[in-house]
């Protein structure tokens, strides 16, 4: 394990019956920065994130997170990481406060009430705390999911399209909050997103995936130069349509 990296993945395969969803995946993500995991639908981003979180067992390969083998020390590592996705729900009938309380206990957090109040204030949820999760708008739900993912002050945060379905104002405030969190804590973020403007703003490194493999990596500027494009959206389309770098 290289101390510079928060995630090191090597020789990773995932088969679903005969279908190979992840095919000899190799990549590293640096500590303290945001790494974007990009790729078209079916490229294997969500499968990769699920394996990094221990929700999915790899068919073969190694995953090291925060210097430890994920497959051997999953539970020790899960205390130090967290996950946010608008596609994974929290219990609808519980209030925000109840949901955050349950998850705070799962992470065995000290001073849980204070932590919930702190996050609620930071994410503009303080007036909604006693509202049921199921009664919230999409934007409010995303903020709750983010609050849940920050409860344990994770050193590594995995995010699957964190600002999907949000209006530009809310999306901007969430990005700003994440940037602030990263500056304050030195946390690392792995971000799967289809929003290229978001990636250009937040990511220091980009990993491009296609058909379960890494097809290119670099900083956003390196990728723009390599493909001779003006923005990451055009690079994304080039890669998705199998065009080679310039």
């Amino acid at each position: 394990m290289h101390p510079e990296f928060v995630i090191e993945v090597s020789g990773l395969y995932k088969y679903f019956d005969q279908f190979c969803a992840i095919n000899d995946l190799q990549f590293q993500a640096r500590k303290g920065v945001t790494t974007a995991l990009l790729g078209g639908n079916g490229a294997g981003k969500t499968t990769t994130i699920a394996m990094l979180l221990g929700l999915l067992t790899p068919s073969q390969g190694k995953i090291h997170i925060l210097g430890e083998d994920m497959l051997q020390h999953r539970y020790r590592l899960l205390h130090r990481m967290n996950f946010s996705s608008p596609y994974v729900d929290l219990p609808q009938r519980l209030t925000i406060r109840q949901n955050l309380t349950v998850y705070g206990h799962l992470y065995r957090l000290p001073r849980l009430k204070e932590r919930i109040a702190e996050l609620a204030q930071a994410l503009n949820l303080d007036t909604l705390l006693d509202k049921r999760y199921g009664q919230l708008s999409a934007g409010q739900k995303t903020r709750v999911s983010l609050a849940k993912s920050l409860l344990n002050k994770p050193e590594l945060l995995l995010m699957d399209e964190p600002t999907a379905s949000l209006d530009p104002d809310t999306a901007d405030s969430i990005r700003s909050y994440l940037e602030q969190y990263q500056r304050d804590t030195g946390a690392s973020i792995l971000l799967a997103s289809h929003n290229m403007a978001e990636v250009e703003r937040m990511a220091s490194d980009v990993i491009m995936m296609r058909k379960g493999q890494v097809v290119d990596t670099g900083t956003p500027d390196e990728l723009l130069a390599r493909y001779g494009r003006n923005n990451l959206e055009e690079v994304f389309i080039d890669i998705a349509r199998h065009k080679e770098s310039a």
Binding site: F16, T46, T47, A50, L53, G54, L55, L56, T57, Q72, H73, R74, Y75, R76, L78, H79, N82, F83, S85, V88, D89, L90, P91, Q92, R93, L94, T95, Q98, T101, V102, Y103, H105, L106, Y107, R108, R132, K148
Partner: protein, 268 residues
């Protein structure tokens, strides 16, 4: 090899999630008491009718009511596990739960606790209502009642864990198994009639079920006022096998779910 570590706080967290749910919905609590009470009332009236026509019932009027209430312990125990687990599936919460440090075996302990609580509320309510309504108290059985209760709820847990594992593996399409599975063994459990009533080829099957020994023991207690230790030993021994199998099936299917990516996909 993963570290083996139990956290009461994590177990409590999952239980708390379901206690919040119960607290927020009085129909859910009412539903827990409703069916055991309806069953108890029905069999209470049948008992009143038969008392004048059957020497057996006249001899031990609580025979049918004890049977129905104790059977409900097994049924509610099983249902408590399956319902609490499926609630996580319906709410698509498994993904979040299992990216937290919650271990699957801690989840199992939470399910057992919630099932115990739901069963105590449901059956407890019905047994208390039976006292003024039919002048029948199941608590007159004394200490053996605790042994009967524990053996029946453990068998219910074993079936509930197996069913939950199957639903996790095969999806909500298999949900109906949770409602009907326990009734497949009901005729073999000797609730209202002795095992000897069954055809001889079926009796070994019945005697392989912990519940049959409990109900045989219950009948002996009510009719002959003796506590049959041998039946209880059989029930305990068989329950060790049943519960071990239930936990193994649940954890086995959980590993399959991890392999097949089902923890993120399940839901309504």
């Amino acid at each position: 090899m993963q570290d083996i570590h139990f956290s009461l706080r994590r177990i409590g967290a999952v239980a708390l999630r379901h206690l919040y749910l119960m607290r927020s919905s009085w129909p859910r609590v009412l539903e827990m008491v409703y069916w055991p009470t309806v069953q108890m009332i029905l069999w209470g009236f049948i008992t009143l009718y038969l008392q004048g026509n059957s020497s057996l019932i006249a001899q031990a009027s609580g025979l049918l009511l004890s049977g129905v209430l104790l059977w409900d312990v097994l049924f509610r125990g099983q249902l408590g596990i399956a319902l609490v687990f499926m609630e996580e599936m319906w709410s698509r919460n498994l993904g979040h739960l299992f990216v937290s440090p919650l271990r699957p075996y801690e989840m199992v302990v939470s399910l057992l606790f919630m099932s115990l609580l739901r069963t105590l509320i449901g059956i407890g309510g019905a047994t208390l209502i039976a006292i003024p309504l039919f002048q029948y108290s199941i608590y007159d059985m004394g200490l053996p009642l605790i042994a009967f209760f524990l053996n029946l709820i453990i068998m219910g847990w074993a079936i509930g864990l197996m069913v939950s594992g199957i639903v996790l593996r095969y999806g909500m399409g298999a949900e109906s198994i949770a409602w009907v599975s326990v009734f497949a063994i009901q005729p073999l459990c000797a609730i209202y009639y002795p095992v000897a009533t069954l055809p001889s080829w079926l009796q070994p099957v019945a005697l392989a079920l912990p519940a049959s020994h409990v109900f045989e023991g219950m009948r002996e207690l009510l009719l002959q006022h003796t506590f049959n230790v041998a039946h209880m030993q059989w029930a305990i021994g068989l329950n060790i096998v049943f519960l071990s199998a239930g936990i193994a099936v649940f954890l086995g299917y959980f590993r399959v779910a991890r392999r097949r990516g089902l923890l993120l996909q399940v839901g309504e």
